[in-house]
């Protein structure tokens, strides 16, 4: 297992390099020049060259890339062009908010989604199943920004339970976490249910019944274990998605976070910030897939054997 974990982690190195090249290049092909924003109208070409030299933009692209990569690897993400502060500080401010929001939303959708999925599968085609799957359908068709606004209206404006917006204290996290978490819950519920029903039809489950084990024990100790394997993979893949995809929810609730940082930097053509935020999100996706693979290997000896 340890050898597998190490090997699987090393596989991320080439992926990281490829991603870094793409992130570095994309921004050089986007039209619009941030230097223009820094120059006063009517500045001389010398002033422009001076600024380009300061940011290293006068060197050939491959050299720029290697310098950038070297800096990134040593923890230097550059200086924000607009905010004129170290990018690492901006990321450092945004990341905890994103992690708290994403982590709690993921925990919420895992716990609630798996529970609901199991209840639905155990009561297949009876009313609890129909009720849950009806709720899932409604939940998965509501756009998160709209859901966020509605919850804000109900719980903040009418009931006054939670703050309308901002990032002060735990109570301000409740509505954004619910908004993101509910969408994930619908997905997790559906996959858990389908997966449980599918596994329950396998031969080995028939044999478990033939051994005289109780149906509930078979469902919870054997079927659920198998059913969770795809669920875990999907949850792990959502780690990256939740960190970056939370941007609409961050905007609705006026919360700081990676998504907001990225959108603002894009609008301002603030290259170093865009690059750093994209890199963070890409790494979140990579760590998510890594975690998913490791969990899968931990849960299924056949996966370990195939990769040994």
């Amino acid at each position: 297992m340890l050898a597998y974990a190490i090997r699987r982690s090393l596989m991320l190195v080439p992926v990281f390099l490829a991603v870094s090249v793409i992130i570095f290049l994309i921004l050089h092909f986007i039209p619009g020049d941030p230097i223009d924003n820094l120059l006063k109208v009517g500045s001389s070409p010398t002033a422009r060259a001076e600024i380009e030299a300061r940011y290293g933009l006068d060197k050939p692209l491959p050299v720029q890339y290697l310098i950038w990569l070297g800096n990134v690897l040593t923890g230097d993400l550059g200086t924000a062009i607009v905010a004129r502060r170290p990018v690492i500080d901006l990321i450092g401010q945004a990341l905890p908010h994103s992690l708290a929001l994403g982590g709690l939303a993921l925990a919420f959708s895992s716990i609630v989604g798996i529970t609901l999925g199991v209840i639905a599968a155990l009561n297949r085609d009876r009313w609890p199943d129909r009720a849950i799957m009806g709720g899932v359908l409604v939940g998965s068709t509501m756009p998160s920004f709209w859901l966020g606004l509605m919850m804000m209206l109900a719980f903040s404006v009418w009931l006054g339970w939670f703050p309308v917006s901002g990032a002060r204290g735990w109570s301000s996290l409740v509505l954004p976490v619910l908004t993101i978490g509910l969408g994930g819950t619908a997905l997790v519920t559906r996959i858990t249910r389908v997966s449980m029903i599918e596994v329950a039809q396998k031969d080995f489950v028939t044999l478990l019944h033939a051994k005289g084990l109780s149906p509930l024990r078979i469902q919870l100790r054997h079927v659920l274990r198998h059913a969770l394997i795809p669920v875990v993979t999907i949850l792990a893949l959502r780690i990256g998605w939740i960190l970056g995809g939370a941007v609409t929810v961050e905007v609705v609730f006026a919360r700081p976070g990676l998504g907001t940082l990225l959108i603002k930097a894009l609008a301002q053509h603030d290259y170093p910030v865009v690059q750093a935020s994209l890199l963070m999100l890409a790494m979140a996706v990579m760590i998510g897939t890594l975690l998913g693979d490791l969990l899968q290997a931990a849960m299924d000896p056949r996966v370990r054997a195939a990769l040994a």
Binding site: K202, D203, F204, T206, L207, L208, H209, A210, K211, G212, L213, S214, H222, R225, H226, M299, D300, P301, R302, A305
Partner: protein, 321 residues
């Protein structure tokens, strides 16, 4: 003495399809009853019915009684049936490759039966598991008990499934085509193991198979199913010497023999009808070489035939096909 397992006029339906129609069988202790027939004749369904596992596949017994040791399983509560499964009735499935839980170690899958049904501690259950594995000639039982299912061969897995079936000290074992998925050399070993269990422990074995060779080798009695009905049920020697039902006769002709000419393997023309389009009268009549007009008109009743046998045919007995 009452039989250990007795099916009396058992009919089974899934949704609206009547898949088994009035099946009657009896099996005594120390006996092997072979249940034969082509795929789709209802053999596995009979096994599921005798295990009380029909609800798993959405089926139910519509009429008849399934008596185990004198008690009707159809009338039992689900808890009572569950107490029999694994304890007094062991089950061996068709495909050992998919019969074991792939994410649980071998030993634990056997242990659970004796812990659940015999109330053994985990240490005692493991000791019993290792003993059973050794009796079934599984080499290095201790290491195998700690292995995962995917690390074992098909034949070894089937021995593990047999060990699971034996762990509750059952009186009856139902084996649903226990050798179909195995190599020919391993098939013989598994059949010998099962026959030895019946001989040494006085178990009863319901052996479902489509291999007439295996039937001739180990069974005491044979029941032939066709399209959800019993065609013939007799002791093994007379049934092979002089099959009464044309379908049984056709099945015995399918066994390749030394004097079968090269390239002259026998088959039965046509296929088993499905429950959606069962023919009228005798369900075998469209494929039967002896069929007369009565065969398509009326269903032949199951009547006594020969010594301790029964057959459902308008024209039973030998005769040129």
């Amino acid at each position: 003495m009452s039989p250990l397992l007795e099916l009396q006029g058992v009919s089974v339906a899934i949704a609206h399809a009547q898949l088994l129609d009035g099946i009657s069988l009896r099996l005594d202790r120390g006996q092997i009853l072979g249940l034969v027939g082509e795929s789709g004749s209802g053999k596995s369904l009979t096994a599921m019915a005798a295990m009380g596992l029909l609800p798993l596949i959405g089926g139910r017994v519509t009429t008849g009684a399934i008596r185990f040791d004198g008690q009707d399983m159809v009338q039992m509560t689900e808890a009572q049936r569950r107490a029999l499964r694994g304890r007094r009735i062991g089950f061996i499935t068709q495909n050992p490759m998919t019969a074991l839980d792939p994410v649980q170690r071998i030993g634990a899958q056997i242990d659970v039966v004796s812990r659940l049904h015999l109330g053994l501690s985990s240490a005692a259950a493991r000791a019993r598991t290792l003993e059973l594995m050794t009796q079934l000639r599984i080499p290095e039982a201790g290491a195998v008990a700690e292995a995962w299912p995917h690390q074992l061969s098909g034949g070894m897995k089937q021995r593990i499934v047999i060990a699971m079936a034996l762990a509750g000290e059952p009186d009856l074992i139902i084996a649903d085509e226990p050798t179909t998925a195995l190599d020919v050399t391993v098939q013989a070993q598994i059949i010998q193991i099962l026959a030895a269990l019946v001989r040494d422990r006085g178990l009863a074995l319901l052996l479902i198979t489509h291999d007439m060779g295996v039937v001739a080798q180990v069974c005491d009695r044979v029941a032939v199913l066709y399209a959800g009905r019993l065609a013939e049920e007799r002791p093994v020697d007379p049934i092979f010497a002089a099959p009464a039902h044309p379908y049984t006769r056709a099945l015995t002709l399918c066994i390749p023999r030394d004097d079968t000419a090269r390239g002259a393997l026998h088959g039965i023309p046509g296929a088993v009808p499905t429950a959606l389009n069962y023919p009228s009268g005798c369900r075998f009549h469209p494929r039967c070489p002896k069929a007369v007009s009565a065969c398509s008109a009326t269903q032949p009743a199951l009547v006594a035939y020969g010594e301790d046998g029964r057959v459902a045919c308008h024209l039973p007995g030998p005769g040129a096909p």
